[in-house]
Structures are given as structure tokens and as C-alpha cells.
Subunit: 444 residues, 2 copies
Amino acid sequence: MSINNLERNYKKNTKHSNLLYQKSLKFFPGGISHNIRFFTPYPFCVKEATGKYLVDVDSNTYTDYWMGHWALILGHSPQNVSLALSKQVKNGTLYGTVNSLSIELAETIQRLMPKAEKLRFATTGSEATMYAVRLARAATRKKIVAKIIGGWHGFNSSLLESVNYPFEINEGLGLDVDNKYIKSIPFNDLDTSLQLLNNVKEELACIIVEPILGGAGCITPNNDYLQGLQEFSKKNNIIFILDEIVTGFRLSIHGAYKMFKLDPDLFTLGKIAGGGLPIGIVCGKNEILSLSNPNDKTNKNLICSIGGGTFSANPVTMTAGLKTLEFLQNNKKIVYSKINELGAYTRKELQKIFDENNADVKITGIGSLFNVHFLNNNVREINNATDVALADKEKLRKYHFALISKHKIFFLPSKMGAISYQHSKVDIDKLLNSTRSIIESKIL
Amino acid sequence: MSINNLERNYKKNTKHSNLLYQKSLKFFPGGISHNIRFFTPYPFCVKEATGKYLVDVDSNTYTDYWMGHWALILGHSPQNVSLALSKQVKNGTLYGTVNSLSIELAETIQRLMPKAEKLRFATTGSEATMYAVRLARAATRKKIVAKIIGGWHGFNSSLLESVNYPFEINEGLGLDVDNKYIKSIPFNDLDTSLQLLNNVKEELACIIVEPILGGAGCITPNNDYLQGLQEFSKKNNIIFILDEIVTGFRLSIHGAYKMFKLDPDLFTLGKIAGGGLPIGIVCGKNEILSLSNPNDKTNKNLICSIGGGTFSANPVTMTAGLKTLEFLQNNKKIVYSKINELGAYTRKELQKIFDENNADVKITGIGSLFNVHFLNNNVREINNATDVALADKEKLRKYHFALISKHKIFFLPSKMGAISYQHSKVDIDKLLNSTRSIIESKIL
């Protein structure tokens, strides 16, 4: 079967999606509300989602490994969350005031992640990382921000640089204001990173890094990479920011920082912390977060002014976050051992299947996260975003599209997959068998 | 009765709130998740909200004119919205994909506001205005952004300048990167504004303006002010951005731009458009929005990369927005005539009460929005944010605190009030009588 046949098949099965996508193009540039949500020939259009399933408008049911940008660790609309939400929505969705739920959620997070000495609730991850960087600049009175090549911290102007290959070219029009204050360093190459950092250390406010490169392809850190960056930060009074928007409550209920024995000055949370509703959180050391206290100072220019926003600490997000963390806490062992074991099984068996079929593939990942990389003559290992960009991304897109169109298994093409508590070994075995069938059909 | 007595009374009635606020201080700098949500001695802590009421943890019930940062035009949890939400939360809160609800909401908005030739859904107003400015810079290849002194467009780094008095001092630490590209102009002073704009017109990307200064004190535009800015923009190929996050669907179901006969190149929506759930939208001319189409170009640096974000177009927000706009459309005359008539009545009668009691006050507002300003020797009129800042803000805070503590009427102290469809003449008469009683008690 060829990729053309798959497209024909997809189009046959998603006629209503096609019509709606054509309509979507009339309203949205590219027909989407997030750049990565488009894939060829057109993305199917979802009408509902429960458990591990996405259902499109043609009533195709997909086993979902995209899971709401990896946010839905308990699956779509888990019962304990949706029951609480269906009550909350009758009791107010937007108080616009201090409320008891936000205090409860903060207390829960702090108990699980004591390095969250203080917190600030915002509404999105893009906001949280923007505010983290602002706090770091405020604390150090310095301007330069170091980030990882391929590191993804949202669409805010402070960090939208070196995200997509070719990394040295800027990320598009309208952005050329802030970027000279961004220094990009290569993941997993500590020597080069420290050398680059050393060149700017007098002007360096912070280093921001995801513990696992998520959007860039699910890349785990080498032995001492994160520790090396942290050590450099501590030595030079630079703020060390860990972006745990993907990893927080995913790799461990106590954060990736605990797992990797790190001591970030600031860290950001999002996704799982909001239980499927919009959230972004800046957490960290009291002395840094306290710069944002609007009540401390009489001079506005001695405060670091951060959001907040209309929707910050709204009771719907707070409820979903609380119920999700409550479930994770009460079922810690069973949830994390299940999803991590399924993750390990997936990575191991996928690698085996590709190896057995002489497909030149490297599976990356950790815990419940995984991604497939098709190697080639230039790329023999996956250590950083450049490796991922120069690997055979076209083959990866074909593989994911074959999973979608023929096997009704959804990965956002090229992006890593996340296993939720709703997935079972049966689902993984279906993924494995489908993979085998795709390789054997010579589509790739 | 003195303000001290009122505080004593407030503390007596909000003991549980006090305890929770002390607890909140342990987690959040200043105990809040939005700078403006604090007021002295401490803000009460909300446990639920329905209709026109906020209920605090001590079971005090307040008639709410803050209404979720003025977002809740139908009140807290109106039945048609909450019923639809309680179904939706069982059917997925975060698809992370193209979905039919987002197409429906876009279609509804475009029908009501045809100048939304294209739209991009983001998750907050701060994101929407940041992306609007980015698009303007992309379209013009220029950098400078003009905003209004006192204009409020959220906490993003692109527009956080000249927000709080003294306006010429920057808005705090960590922000000193972008600000040299912001030019601030005085609201309602067209001559001075045009002169300042003229000085930078070669480098000017856009002018962004709220039709009504909202956060700065509910100030309406003079006759030709907005038209004058627009004319200057069109003449000089500058992007004219109208920030309708507060006014869209509030002043008119067709936007303030229709009301004021304006033709913005871009405009932003939020608040009401999300029906009480997180939203921000960039709307406007096809040719500008299309710069953000990720599928058009092969070169990433020819695209204007904007969010989106994990939560953009999420089905919960889409449902709440749709149900809210549907209700507004189906009940257009009854809703807008009710809230606008109540608004006019409030402004007229409040002014009368203050005048009769020789209180030197100016009521501002339009439609369902209003605010009170206590004048003094220096400030005889309210035309811009400087007038508001130099008026007697302390008296305004006392007035609002007296309404809260003695009369259980909630305005976020010093901020404008918004009338929702849930409010009635009985509520307004209570506000009027309470105001009379406050003046007579000589608290102010």
C-alpha cells in the first residue's frame, strides 16, 4: 500500500471533516488555531473525546496518544474530574477574585513539590514562561536569557527563538525586537553550552530548559547536562529555570526536578496541573517570586509586574487541577507504575519491531513519553533538536499518518506520544501490531 | 460611621476569609493571582457565584458589579451556558485538534462582526494583544507600537508600559527590553497624539487603542479622537488596532467599531466571547492575519508565528462562547436595551445623588459600564488616565469599600462596574440608596 492509497482512504473516511476543514479555512489562516495542528491532506475534525478516544465528525474513533498536547494524564474527561466540573460550572466559572479553590490547589502543589515556595497562577504555559523570564531579569537586573536550541516555551515574544530548523534563522516576522537578548545553546553538549554561556555571563539573567526536550522530539538529558547548567548558574548568580510544563506530574508526581535531583530557582507548570483546563504556573524561590508582590512596594518600578490575567485562578481550572492531582496522589503507585511500565514496554517493543525489520530507527523517551526517529546517513543518534530535524522527518510523518488513516491511532504527526492512565496493554499491542503491519506494507 | 468602623465591621463579617487570606499569603506573593485583586484590609474569599451574586466563605452574599473582570454579561453561570458546559465537560475539555465547535464560534463571530475577515483563537487577552502587535510589526516591517497613556492590554511584555501613574516611569523590573519601542499618547487629546505619532511615523508599526479606556477608569472617547487616530493610520500605512476585549459584545453585539463607525485593520476580542472561560482572539483583515498561516510558506522567516497554544479553541471555552453569543443574538433587543437602560439610569441617578449632596463627583461610562470619580481642585474633568489618577482615588476606594462592607455590593475597589443581564432596577436602586446612605454618613 502506498501513501497515496492511504490518503485516498483517509479522504473516503473523513468526508465531513474535509468539508468542515474547507470551511475552517474561511475563518482561520491555515484552518487552524495552533500552527502544529495542521497535517496533510487536512486534519480530521473532532466532535467529542472520552477516555483514550478522540471521535471525529465522521464518527471515526481514534486511540489518542496526543492527549491534548500531552496534558491529559488521566485521559479525556475522567469521571472524577468531569463530575466535579459539571457541578462547578453551575457555581461560577470566573469569580475574578481571591477564592478558596486556588488556595487549595496551591497547597496541593506545594505539598507535592516543596520547591514551589511561592506560586503565581497564570492561564497558559506561554504566559508562565514569559513571567518566569521577567522575574529572572528582575532578580538579576540583567537581560540575556539562555535557552536550548529547539527548546519550546510557547509563543511569547521573550522565548520564540531557535525553535524550528534551521535554528539560526529567526522564528519569523514581527519578532525582531527581543531576540538579540536570547542566547541559544545545544542540548546535551555541556562543553559547548558552557563556553557559549561563559561568553555572555556578565549579562546573563537566566537559563531556561525543559528537563526533556518535548516539542523538539522527546529527548532525554545526558548524565550531567542539566546538573552542569545548574552548577554554572549557581556559580555565576544566574537564575536556573526548569520548564516543567510537560514533565511536571508526568514523569513524577514530585516533578522532574526531584527525579533528576535538581534545584531550580524557578520552575513552570501547566498542562496536567490544570486537569485539562487552561493553566500556567510560575513557581519557585520565595525571594524571587516575592518581587511580584504588588502590595510590598510603594514604587511601581521596584516591583516585577506579572500576570495574572482575567482568567487566572478561575474556579473551573482550579477544580479540574485539584481533582486531577487528588487522583494522582491517592493512586500514585498504580498510576505511575502503570503508565511508566506501558511506556517502557512501548519503547522496548517498538525498537525491537523496527530492528527486526531492519528499519533504521531510534526510539526515544522516558516514563510515559516516547517518540520514533527514522535515522539516516547523517543522523546516527538522537541527542538534540538538530539530530531530530535532520533525521527522516518525512518518514516519521508517513508512519504517523499511516497509524491515523489505516489503524485509527492518533499521534499529531511527528510529535511524541503520551500514555495516559486510560491506555492499556491491549492498546499498546495494537500500536505495536499496527507498526509491524506498516513496516511490512512498505509504505515508509 | 468612620472607615475604621467599616473595617472593623468587615473583619467581623469575614473571619473565615481573613484566615484563608492569611493562608493564601503563604502560597502567593501578596496572596493573589492578579495584582488588582488585592484590596485593604484583605479581599474576601469567594466560594461560589451564581446570577448576579458572589458568595464568600463566610456566606456573605454580594451583588456583583465586577462580574469576572466585566466578562460575564449574562451573569455568573447562566443556565443555558452551564447546562451546555455540564454536558461538554463529560465529552472532552481539551481535544488539542481542529474541532467543529471552534468553526461554529468563528462563524458566529464573523456573522456579527464582519470585519473579522479572519480570526485566530488564543487563550487570553494578553496573548491576543501580543499577537496583534506582532502581526502589525510583521505586516509593516516596522517596530514602534503606539499605545494610549493608561491603556491596558494585559501583562505581555509588548504592551506593559505607561499603564499606572506616574506613567512616564516604566512598569517595573524585568521589563526593560521592549519598552523603547513603545510610544505613549494621551487619550482624547488628538493634537498632541498626532504630533507625537508624527515624530515616529517612519518607524511606526501600529496604534493600539481601547475604544473606551476600561482599566484606566471607564473613559469614553471625545468626538473625533478615535477617527483621528484611524485617519492618521490609514494615511501613513500604519496598522490601526482596536482592543475590544472589554467592549466587544458589551457595547454592541456588533462591536464598538460598528458603534463608533471605525474600520480597524485588526481588533482583539476576549472576555464575553468566551462566555466566562479563557479566551483571547485576534481578528481582522485577511491580508494581515494570513501572514500567520503556517501552511503557506516554506521559509519560516516569512511567516508571522503566533499562538495558538495548548488550550486554544478548547471545546469548553468554545461551548461557553457559543452559548453566550447565541443567547445575545436571540435576545439582542431585550438584553442590550435592558443593560444599557440600567446603565444610563445608574449614571444619571448616581450623578444626581452626588450633586444633591454637594459631593464633587463625575460619573463616566457608556452602555452598561460606569465609574465614579471624585474630583478635586486639580481635576475638574475626566478625559484621560491622568485625570483619573489625579482625582481623589482614596475617596473612590473608601466609597467602594463602604459599598462592600456595609451594603454587600461589590465593585473591585476603584474599578468600573458592569451591569449584567441578571441585574434589575431593584439592584440599581439598592446601589443608589446605599450611595446616598454612604454620603450622608460622612464616611468619605
